[in-house]
Symmetry: C3
Subunit: 211 residues, 3 copies
């Protein structure tokens, strides 16, 4: 597979994962079905859209509406399936899907920025992070939640480590592009999953606020 194809598949999966989180974030509100789908779609394509606006590139879903189609489909299926979930599990589940979407959008966002000729490493790193967390931030703001950044959870650090792993591996071994991408995603999602599962908290000296 070419890098383009890999990025395409990753975006698609991340889009679906984020659409699921958008719908799950509404599991404890009374919100009508159509609004649920809107939130799902905005969450799904929000991060990549912000990145493309900043890069002055055409938004990635304009030329290929399958992103929107999959986001709509994933939102509908999640909405239907949601009635089978008990409440506390739903939020946990959302966190895992959010972590998966973060990892895939973050790494692929960084690689897309790199291919558009942005200087290594600050630009690709930063736009990778924005791609990763943008959709989730919009979801949290629109649904009135505390944004996931505003906590002492280990949230943004895993995706940052994953992106850095990909960028450094690719810089050193340009021929291992696919491996660099997949490795970075695995590391980001693995670390975040561990942080959710064992409820890791960052040490006090690494957090703001009263000590």
């Amino acid at each position: 597979m070419t890098t383009d194809q890999i990025l395409h598949v990753l975006y698609m999966c991340a889009t679906i994962a984020f659409a699921v989180t958008g719908v799950l974030a509404l599991a404890d509100r009374k919100v009508d079905f159509f609004s649920v789908v809107i939130i799902g779609v905005i969450t799904a394509v929000g991060g990549g859209t912000i990145r493309d606006l900043l890069l002055d590139a055409p938004v990635f879903w304009a030329s290929d509406l399958s992103y929107i189609r999959f986001a709509v489909l994933a939102s509908i299926l999640t909405f239907i399936a949601q009635s089978f979930f008990a409440h506390p599990n739903v939020y946990k589940l959302m966190l895992y899907f959010d972590g998966l979407g973060n990892a895939m959008f973050g790494v692929s966002g960084a690689m897309k920025t790199l291919e558009l000729g942005f200087r290594w490493p600050l630009g690709p790193f930063m736009l990778g992070v924005i791609t990763a967390i943008g959709g989730g931030l919009i979801r949290d703001v629109l649904t009135g939640r505390k944004t996931l950044l505003m906590s002492d959870e280990v949230y943004a650090v895993p995706v940052a480590i994953g992106i850095l792993t990909t960028l450094i591996t690719f810089q050193l071994f340009p021929e291992l592009k696919t491996e660099a991408i997949l490795g970075g995603i695995l590391i980001a999602f693995g670390l975040r999953s561990a942080a959710i599962f064992w409820e890791w908290r960052l040490p006090a000296w690494f957090t703001s606020g009263p000590k």
Copy 2:
């Protein structure tokens, strides 16, 4: 009138309607006059601006500052008039103006997207919805309200039906453009007004949250 002229008039009216809602949303806060006008203007042009950024078109108010002028004027007049309103009515009034702006921005946003060559019907439909609700979402976020999407009110469905009506009518009868546009707006605003007046709620199976 050409379609361009019709769209122009509609944008102008929708701009004014949304500026009014932005100011009315502040009726129960102590906010200074100049900030009120800023919120009014951002609400008024927010949805169309997001659409133009996504379409990579020049923002609609850059080449014709009369949108901004009318938004400023409407904000000032609403600010002055506001002291005559009793509190509970003001919010209701905001909902009606919001519905009117929604309907006009939604239908005209979809038609503008169609004219820029976006594929029928998913692109125009989606960007129509974004144009319709974007300004209101920004208003709700900036004023710290629960966004209007986050309720079981019949909010987004009417404008979706209106946009679909316009798109389908125009697809079948391209010569009835004006009628398609006005019909869609009437349906969207009519349904939303009925929903506000009779306090329609969507059935439980159509909403998320605990049943």
Copy 3:
């Protein structure tokens, strides 16, 4: 110094000032260090980024990553220094830095808009105000604060007066560009500082809400 150089230095200082406010806004939350830096950077470049998107100009930090570097550095230093501050002073301090960033971003944003050929005075004035308050609004929304616009503090009026001063002075005396810019900034920051220090409130007839 040429105007370009002056604008460059001003942006840099305003970027640092806003990064500081972003970090100080988190002084009472437990947020991990990396998220703190993200919020700092987004606050710092948010207003100018919105302006550039609206102007369809390349975002100002893309061609010159020193903005990002300084924002990151300022965020880190503020994060470290923060533990020396007592709580009530921190918020006050944030207000002053916010006022300084407002003044510099507002005036320089208006001048940049003017140089890109936008019609005098509504366009430059409006985009100046957006540049000034955009970063702070994003900061308040992401950190879950009431946005600074939503109060009867004298917040937006000082920067508006400063921008107008610069625009009018430069219109009348085009050769006094540097003086016009610095004068507008001094007036905006001076008025805002006085408003913070003496806790000025706008008169009731100038604010919305129950009288």
